[in-house]
């Protein structure tokens, strides 16, 4: 279960699991009350994100994707668990590591890949790239590239919902390194003062680029920071999709019902480097081995099979389909048009300006 700010001893689902592991069928109990279809669906989505990200990495090395490219590898359980706590109409703000969130929030994988490819069919018509995906319809109000920049924005979106007495909730995702930037503290304080419907989620993969969480945060148990803002703070095992979903659902519904903001910390591990180009040489072999052993997608697969929710064949079939979907996303991106340079000035101002002096360097002014 979740660890709350008032409890200090960690007791996560995974420790419970470890205690009883090794016996076939021992996981049956932990899925009690869960619909097998839903569990399979979680597995399907986690696998899709995994395959998608593998294809993204490939596209990057083939130079079809430029810029930075931060992947969700190792965070799939957190991504899917969080998104399953939201309604379609709820809003999401994330950092730059958002491909998985975009897919799990309901955006077609093809459009996500097309954005990575910088095509007009992409989530931001090719203007954003990996770090800046956006889709009003699915409620993704943006991936943001400045560490912590999204936190005041998410707070403001929650303010707008509150202003209009809406029933949406805003979720604001960030990494562990982000909790030390001023915007984090300013925004959490404001959200709490005004009792806004926003859930802040720290994805604690224990690394901000190469800096470990204990080297960047004086209190590395990040959920405890919630206490400073008088809001609930909880920590869950980010490799456990159900634990994440349950904790997030509770906090989201609490926010929806006027209970105000909360801070949820999901502890997981990055499987690869900070971005595709980072070989992560700063990581010890043990750390990488540990992350691999905890791989949330493979672990969930094994648990589902152990519990009889999936068999090898159906798991393999889901994986085949996910691969096909990721491949189709690539094909869609590849076939999509590049933006025309004549559209360069289309998105600087929403209200056209009386006297437009933006111009290409070669254009005469008068």
């Amino acid at each position: 279960m979740a660890q709350t700010a008032t409890r200090s001893k960690p007791s996560t689902r995974s420790t419970a699991k470890r205690r009883s592991s090794g016996v076939r069928g021992s996981n049956r109990g932990r899925f009690t009350g869960e619909s097998p279809e839903l569990l399979q669906d979680y597995f399907r989505e986690m696998t899709l994100i995994r395959r998608f990200e593998e294809r993204a990495a490939q596209g990057y090395t083939q130079a079809k994707i430029g810029g930075y490219c931060h992947l969700n590898l190792g965070e799939e359980a957190t991504v899917v668990g969080l998104m399953r706590a939201l309604r379609k109409t709820d809003l999401l703000f994330t950092n730059y590591r958002e491909h998985g969130y975009a897919i799990a929030k309901g955006i077609e994988p093809g459009r996500v890949m097309a954005e990575l490819y910088g095509r007009t069919t992409g989530t931001s018509k090719g203007w954003g790239g990996s770090m800046h995906m956006f889709d009003v319809e699915s409620g993704l109000l943006g991936g943001y590239g400045i560490v912590g920049g999204q936190i005041p924005l998410a707070t403001g979106a929650a303010l707008a919902i509150d202003y209009r007495s809406g029933d949406q909730v805003v979720m604001c995702q960030m990494g562990d390194g982000t909790t030390n930037i001023g915007a984090f503290h300013e925004a959490l304080n404001i959200a709490a003062l005004w009792n806004l419907p926003v859930v802040f989620v720290v994805v604690n993969n224990q690394l901000g680029m190469g800096t470990t969480v204990d080297k960047s945060s004086a209190e590395p148990e990040l959920f405890k920071r919630a206490a400073a803002y008088k809001m609930p703070g909880e920590r869950v095992d980010g490799n456990d999709v159900l634990a994440v979903r349950d904790a997030a659902t509770r906090l989201v519904e609490q926010a929806r019902n006027g209970g105000g903001p909360a801070l949820l910390e999901c502890v997981s591990e990055r499987l690869k480097g900070h971005s595709v180009v980072d070989p992560a040489k700063y990581r010890s072999e043990e750390s990488v081995a540990k992350a691999k052993a905890a791989d949330p997608v493979l672990a969930f697969r094994a648990q589902l099979i152990e519990a009889g929710v999936l068999d090898e064949d159906s798991a393999a079939e889901i994986e085949r389909q996910a691969q096909a979907e990721a491949d189709a996303a690539v094909a869609f991106a590849d076939d999509s048009p590049h933006p025309d340079p004549s559209t360069l000035f289309d998105y600087t101002y929403a209200t056209p300006v009386a006297n437009d002096s933006r111009r290409l360097p070669a254009d005469p002014v008068f």
Partner: protein
């Protein structure tokens, strides 16, 4: 037609826009209970309540960012930043977020927000509280920066800024708040990006904005009365977008120009104006473009030093004389 202060014009406009549109709300430090550091928002908390007049903690990045987020959902926040000096704390939210959200998401959402903030020196507030750093914002595509100099323009431009779908930095000036001017009973929103010829003339063009547009106007009147010089005055009103056409048209007519600005000279707004004149009116120029700007020092506290650092009616008059002498047009 009533004669009111710049302060009153701002206050009245905020109130009228709040009455007109439920989505307009005010947010900032000390704007409610304290009624604003410069009292622009006096009485508004009482009239509209805490939902629409929101006092914030001292957290510029936090509340400016929150305004951006609210604007993304279609509200029309009018932020008061106590002074432009403190906007630096919120620079990330203004430059990296407010200005970029429309573009980087391919035009899917805009940020209809106004950042009202006074700038300027002359109050003996020292180096960190007396800056004219509007240029930092005028440099950024995606932002609009307006700087009214008269009560009537304050009203017309604030109306336009609130109704605009883009983030607008609305520059006020501490020394203008108590200045008075005629404001028509019905004011139409100004067109953002249009400069105004506030005095027609043939001898020289004087270009300014905010406080220096007022000074230019006053100097031009005096030069006319005392020396028969006929200066044309252009009030920029908008720093981004910049109305190069009006500037160039005027210089093509007069053949020489002086730019008056409260900011620092090097890389300043005047540099851009001078370059625009060179681009568009080089063949018409009879003399180099002169610039009157603040001394390039952190603004000092001591009164004589502060006075020496800021451009004044005297320094502008001198620059106009020098330019007219150079073209042999001094009578």
């Amino acid at each position: 037609m009533a004669v009111i202060t710049y302060r009153q014009a701002l206050h009245d406009t905020l109130r009228e826009e709040m009455l007109r549109d439920e989505d307009v709300f005010l947010i900032g430090e000390e704007i409610g209970v304290f009624e604003g550091s410069y009292k622009i928002t006096a009485g508004l908390l009482k009239e509209f309540g805490e939902k629409r007049v929101r006092d914030t903690p001292i957290a510029e990045e936090g509340f400016v960012g929150a305004a951006v987020g609210a604007a993304m959902l279609g509200l029309r926040p009018v932020v008061e930043l106590m002074t432009i000096n403190f906007s630096l704390i919120a620079l990330d939210q203004i430059v990296n977020h407010a200005a970029k959200i429309y573009g980087m998401f391919g035009g899917q959402t805009s940020v209809p927000m106004v950042l009202r903030t006074p700038g300027g020196g002359g109050q003996q507030l020292g180096a960190t509280h007396s800056q004219n750093i509007e240029l930092y914002y005028a440099f950024v595509p995606g932002l609009k920066v307006v700087a009214p100099s008269t009560p009537a323009d304050a009203k017309a431009l604030l109306l336009a800024s609130i109704r605009d779908d883009d983030p607008v930095l609305f520059l006020e000036n501490l020394s203008l708040y108590n200045t008075k001017g005629e404001v028509p009973d019905v004011v139409e929103p100004a067109e953002i990006g249009k400069a105004k010829v506030t005095r027609e003339g043939t001898d020289i063009t004087v270009i300014g904005y905010s406080r220096m547009a007022m000074v230019a106007q006053q100097v031009a009147e005096e030069l006319h009365a005392e020396e028969g010089i006929n200066a044309e005055v252009v009030d920029l009103r908008s720093l981004r977008p910049l109305d190069r056409q009006t500037i160039v048209d005027s210089v093509r007519k007069t053949g020489c120009a002086v730019v008056a600005e409260d900011d620092w000279l090097t890389y300043g707004i005047g540099a851009e104006i001078a370059a625009s004149i060179s681009d568009g009116a080089f063949d018409y120029l009879d003399a180099p473009v002169r610039r009157v700007a603040a001394a390039e020092v952190p603004l000092p506290y001591a009164k004589p030093l502060e006075r020496a650092a800021l451009p004044s009616a005297e320094s502008l008059t001198t620059a106009i004389h020098q330019t007219l002498d150079a073209v042999g047009r001094r009578r």
